[in-house]
Subunit: 335 residues, 2 copies
DNA sequence: TTGTACGCGTTATCAT
DNA sequence: ATGATAACGCGTACAA
């Protein structure tokens, strides 16, 4: 319940003895103001504590400078890292990030996009979930740009940036084979997002090509606890796997801890493990996990660069697929 | 460069065959509209994909609904957890979070606050760094509320929420003493933020009262790597400590890993360790760290509840101090 | 209950 | 280069 206390351009104009327009021009890059008026305006603004009202500016320019970041599980290491990169690069580009936390509930992403529309965000970046087709259409009609990261949607319009999960899966299979592993396993969550599916398929297919079978087990969300449960299930099999590809690093950490503590297995001598995401914990001494780094910086750069373009092709921009970088540590034999 | 594509209330009014005010009233809770016009407006709005422009609404009401979250090191587990809680509760309160990432550079927080002012944020929550006094004054004059979390500033006006670090430090000392430890150490970063200082002082003072001396070592930032370095320094002393209080869990993880791998020490039999923050990793099997949980949910609740009050006392609200909760795991003997 | 008219703080346009 | 004026989309006082 704030009553009008912010300083307006009008007041600055009065104090500087110029017109409102002069004030506006002073704060509009590339406008023509004489050095003198400019100084007087700046002085008055400084004294009064004036700052351009971006709400009003956005109203006029039809460009708010706001970019909406739509994410679930913000506190997860990988998500937090993406968030950091996006907000940082957004700020460097002169934009500002609006953060909306979604849950797994139905329509959560749709509600977030409505919020983005209400604030006339210039763009929305979707990192979790998948919006309804109708909402996507609404956003595009409204001139709001959309970026889908690792969402693997097929409708045209949004910029789609994906990491090459299948390739990563395939490379893990090869590495396991080279390490002399024979009984492969894939530890996945029940989430069933496109990226996880591709990771699994790429791994299974490559293993088959190498003449190796894969046991696939799925459980819970992509967290540490799920990794423990999956270890329980996979390592009690009569034919115990000697190599496990975990769908995420978080899963891998839980899996490794359970494998060592509860089953007394040594990594990598008795069990090879690979993960995905290259979260900070993967490099910790307790894990030294061989994993794949998503090119988070490049993903963010592609997204933000596109926001600056006028590229308004009919069917939207071409989808982008980026390779994941293999980070070799010591959870797989050889190397 | 979006040209006016968003649907306006005017267009909805035309389609519904009513005045523009009727549309406005339909979307203003508590306004008087007949059930019939209301229905017609809602129908037209639905068909057109209309959503209230919060930029314009904010301009009118002098209340943007935006709350600015000012943080550095967003990707850090503790910070990410706070962020999650704040955004979630903010959304439940009908507000929206604007996220600004600061670095350690000078004036970084000040720039963030200027951004908050430009977007006419109703409030700013500062989780890192400390703003200049003049900026704080400007915010308050402008009617923008300020919340400082664990910042320990003394100027009146902002809501100050702090965790009782000294008490936590004191309780660790007691626990160590009870475990029969004699040579205590405190592993801190060079950051020197008020909370870290209080944590250290509380620990040292309580240890002194118990007749125990404390070796204090400081290095780097509050991260995993610093923990490793601090272990190197503390565990190579002639009088090797048998108990270490690490300023943060992240430090503690690095410390424990180094202690076990490089010095072959067993926790807690040969070395007791305590941390702070209760990050997710503290509960992992590799650490099982005894630590303190900051009441993140309550902190967020206090902050957001205050934003809803009209409380405009002269010197601002009373500072709030919340206790940290001791989470007992197995990195300290006994229990 | 409904519509008209005005103001919120900007920027853009158009004279000067 | 400068100032007056219109418009952006909305809420609301006021009159009907």
């Amino acid at each position: 319940m704030a009553s009008k206390l912010f300083v307006s351009a009008q007041e600055v104009a009065r104090r500087a003895g110029v017109s409102r327009s002069a004030v506006s021009r002073t704060f509009t890059p590339g406008a023509s103001v004489s050095a003198e008026t400019r100084q007087r305006v700046l002085k008055a603004a400084e004294e009064l504590g004036y700052h351009v009202n971006h709400l009003a500016r956005g109203l006029m320019r039809n460009e708010s400078g706001i970019v909406c970041l739509i994410v679930s599980d913000v506190a997860t290491p990988y998500r937090a890292a993406v968030l950091r990169e996006l907000t940082l690069q957004l700020q460097n580009a002169g934009k500002v990030a609006m953060l909306i936390n979604t849950d797994r509930s139905d329509g959560s992403v749709d509600r977030a996009l409505h919020q983005a529309i209400r604030y006339r965000a210039d763009a929305s970046v979707i990192l979790s979930g998948l919006p309804d087709k109708s909402i996507v259409q609404l956003c595009l009609r409204s001139g709001q740009r959309l970026v889908l990261i690792n969402r693997d949607d097929d409708q045209p319009g949004p910029l789609r940036i994906n990491v090459d999960d299948a390739d990563a899966g395939s490379r893990v299979a090869t590495a396991f084979a080279r390490a002399g592993c024979r009984r492969l396993a894939f530890a996945n969550s029940l989430a069933g997002t496109p990226s996880l599916v591709r990771r699994e398929k790429g791994f299974v297919a490559a293993a088959a090509a190498l003449g190796l079978e894969v046991v696939v087990e799925r459980y819970g969300a992509t967290g540490y606890e799920a990794g423990q449960v999956l270890a329980q299930r996979l390592l009690t099999r009569s034919e115990r796997p000697d190599a496990v590809f975990c769908a995420t690093d978080l899963l891998a950490c839980g899996f490794m801890d359970a494998a060592r503590r509860q089953f007394g297995l040594a990594v990598p001598s008795q069990l090879c493990v690979a993960g995905f995401d290259n979260i900070e914990q993967a490099s910790w001494l307790s894990y030294e996990l061989t994993t794949f780094a998503q090119p988070v910086d490049r993903i963010a750069k592609y997204a933000i660069d596109w926001l600056g373009t006028d590229d308004n092709g009919e069917d939207g921009p071409e989808p982008i697929t980026l390779p994941a970088e293999l980070i070799w540590r010591s959870s797989i034999r050889g190397g």
